[in-house]
């Protein structure tokens, strides 16, 4: 009999190639200010921040079973946090972005305690209602500009080009960071706990998986990510209005991106973001029909191809660019 050595393995050839290509892409993108027009940089800022938002929604819904339709709360809180820390308290822009994300995470604590009383579809609407509460509170505070909003005045302290480059690099860090953090989290115990909970909450609990604490932690991570992305988005846009900053469309975009790319995979939101922007560029002339089409695609993908575009690729090829699971390999 041959001796068979088994080795627990995570990385695969496609994942190593993927890592190489990914690193190269990040380096090229990081040098964006050297080769891209300002208008391209602005588009890329949206791409990176939407990728971060989508990855956070994916972590919530795809891994923790927390289907939130209220993540726009954190985009809005991040935006208003930025205004508050930069304009009212006079913190530097970069520190304000970070402080806004921390503030959003703190607000997520009571939010989660309330929303976690609901499950499934009612959790979805419940988070939406809470986001509406934050929007209405902000709208009713005249110091925050009420319904017409405010402009980030601190932006004028930095010259235009510097601010664009700074925002661009920050958006890249947030977008890539969301992917890397999700990957690292899922490789840890948390990833195993989430998989167990996804398969069966009851059996996971009986095996000693702290179900509540695990979901709570994921919710806070997603709140941090979305607040951070929200602050960066409005560092670019400058004008903050409650209707737009707390719009449910933010979550609708996250959902479309994740569903089309593949929910419950790290690759999915990356592919979804690329597809989403490609569609937006080609179909933006069609107005509301474009959203009808997006909605129809999301419905169709959910019913017919549950795991989205990346699911189709992975099923055919067995590729995994972000190897979260452990594989046994034989070595002769």
């Amino acid at each position: 009999m041959n001796a068979v050595a088994l080795r627990v393995q995570r990385a695969t050839l496609p994942s190593r190639i993927g890592l190489g290509v990914g690193l190269a892409a990040v380096v090229v993108l990081a040098l964006g200010p050297l080769w891209a027009l300002d208008s391209v940089l602005r588009t890329l800022i949206s791409v990176f921040t939407l990728l971060a938002l989508a990855q956070m929604w994916n972590l919530l819904a795809g891994y923790a079973g927390l289907v939130s339709i209220g993540q726009q709360a954190y985009v809005g809180l991040g935006a208003y946090g930025l205004l508050l820390f930069a304009d009212t308290l006079g913190l530097p822009l970069l520190a304000s972005v970070l402080a806004a994300a921390v503030a959003g995470t703190l607000i997520a604590v009571p939010t989660a305690l309330l929303a976690f009383r609901l499950r499934g579809g009612y959790f979805a609407i419940g988070t939406w209602v809470i986001a509406e509460v934050y929007r209405l509170v902000v709208t009713n505070v005249s110091q925050l500009g009420g319904g017409s909003g405010l402009t980030l005045r601190a932006a004028s302290t930095v010259d235009r080009t510097t601010r664009l480059y700074l925002t661009y690099e920050l958006a890249l860090v947030v977008g890539v960071g969301a992917v890397v953090v999700t990957y690292l989290l899922l490789r840890r115990r948390l990833g195993l706990a989430l998989t167990a909970i996804r398969d069966s909450e009851q059996s996971a609990r009986s095996l000693g998986v702290p179900v509540f604490r695990t979901k709570f932690a994921v919710y806070l991570v997603a709140a941090f990510g979305c607040s951070l992305a929200g602050a960066v988005i409005y560092l670019n846009l400058l004008r903050v209005q409650p209707e737009a900053a707390f719009s449910v469309n933010w979550t609708a975009f996250m959902i479309f991106i994740v569903v089309i790319g593949g929910v419950g995979t790290i690759e999915g939101p990356i592919i979804g973001t690329i597809v989403f922007f490609a569609l937006q560029e080609t179909l933006s002339g069609y107005g509301a029909w474009y959203l009808v089409l997006l909605g129809a695609v999301a419905v169709l993908v959910t019913v017919v191809a549950r795991r989205g575009l990346w699911g189709l690729v992975a099923d055919r090829t067995g590729w995994s660019l972000f190897p979260v699971q452990r594989r046994l390999e034989e070595h002769w």
């Binding site: 339709i69 499934g120 979805a124 019913v303």
Partner: protein
């Protein structure tokens, strides 16, 4: 007396919310399905009524004869042809995604067909007529009709659930779908009938909304949120809880708006959050939201 008036107007407004909440509560009760397109479907009903009134000069209340059967049929087909496929397994994701996608589709279709303009249904004299109780208290005929209709729909639903074969199959499927299937109930049909009836009530709600106030293609989600708040405030699994929840929400909103015009909806939301925090079973509910 002003405050009495505010509370009375709130109760009347609550009738409309109870009407909206009925369908949501029924669908959740029978199949644990939360329909995020609930509000948008009511707005579709209002726009269909508008199209009919534009073509044939009748009082919009007569269009109920067309719109209610129409949404009943839409509900049956929607459940049978689409939503049933999202209920396989215990995954909460597909029903939320599909009904949310549907909500986006409906809103934007309405936007393309009817534009973003505010519309209203003109029901004639009944809209502004009122019963004067005293100098500062008047009860509008139409809001009163709405409340009476809501109570009527809820009584009808109660009778349907407790007295009819269909109601029995709803309760059986809700309690234990597998056991219900063993005794020969086809859950696909039972679910489709539940959605059909739910959407019939949604049609009534949408029409009454259209007469009471103006509407645009994008107001559906707000209706969904109010219906949901009424259900949770009243308590899941309780028909009279749905009525109570609607009334409490209506009063909270009118009281809030009386304090400051911008606080109406917010006050309703805060009552909802307070119920969630301190009494998660709702006022009359038997189960914790699950």
């Amino acid at each position: 007396m002003t405050w009495v008036n505010v509370v009375v107007q709130g109760l009347l407004l609550g009738g409309l919310y109870a009407l909206f909440a009925t369908g949501l509560s029924l669908m959740f009760g029978v199949m644990r399905l939360v329909n995020l397109a609930h509000g948008d479907l009511s707005i579709v009903a209002a726009f269909v009524a508008l199209a009919i009134v534009d073509a044939v000069p009748v009082n919009p209340l007569w269009t109920l004869l067309v719109v209610v059967p129409l949404l009943f049929g839409v509900g049956y087909l929607l459940q049978r042809g689409l939503l049933n496929f999202t209920l396989r397994g215990n995954d909460p994701l597909p029903p939320v995604l599909v009904t949310f996608g549907l909500s986006i589709i409906l809103q934007n279709l309405l936007l393309e067909v009817f534009s973003a303009d505010s519309q209203g249904l003109d029901a004639g004299r009944i809209e502004n007529a009122s019963i004067r109780v005293s100098d500062r208290l008047a009860v509008g005929w139409f809001p009163l009709l709405t409340l009476v209709t809501a109570v009527g729909v809820l009584v009808g639903l109660q009778l349907l659930l407790s007295r009819t074969r269909l109601g029995r199959s709803f309760r059986a499927t809700s309690d234990d779908p597998e056991a219900a299937a063993l005794v020969g109930l086809d859950h696909r049909h039972v679910f489709a009938m539940a959605t059909a009836i739910a959407l019939a009530t949604v049609a009534v709600a949408g029409l009454f909304l259209g007469v009471r106030t103006t509407f645009t293609p994008s107001v559906g989600p707000t209706r969904l949120i109010f219906a949901f708040e009424a259900v949770i405030i009243g308590g899941l699994g309780s028909i009279w809880g749905t009525l109570a929840g609607g009334l409490v929400l209506g009063v909270a909103q009118t009281l809030g708006a009386q304090l400051s015009p911008g606080w109406g909806v917010l006050a309703g939301n805060l009552v909802f959050l307070a119920v969630l925090a301190f009494r998660p079973t709702g006022l009359l509910g038997r189960e914790v939201p699950a």
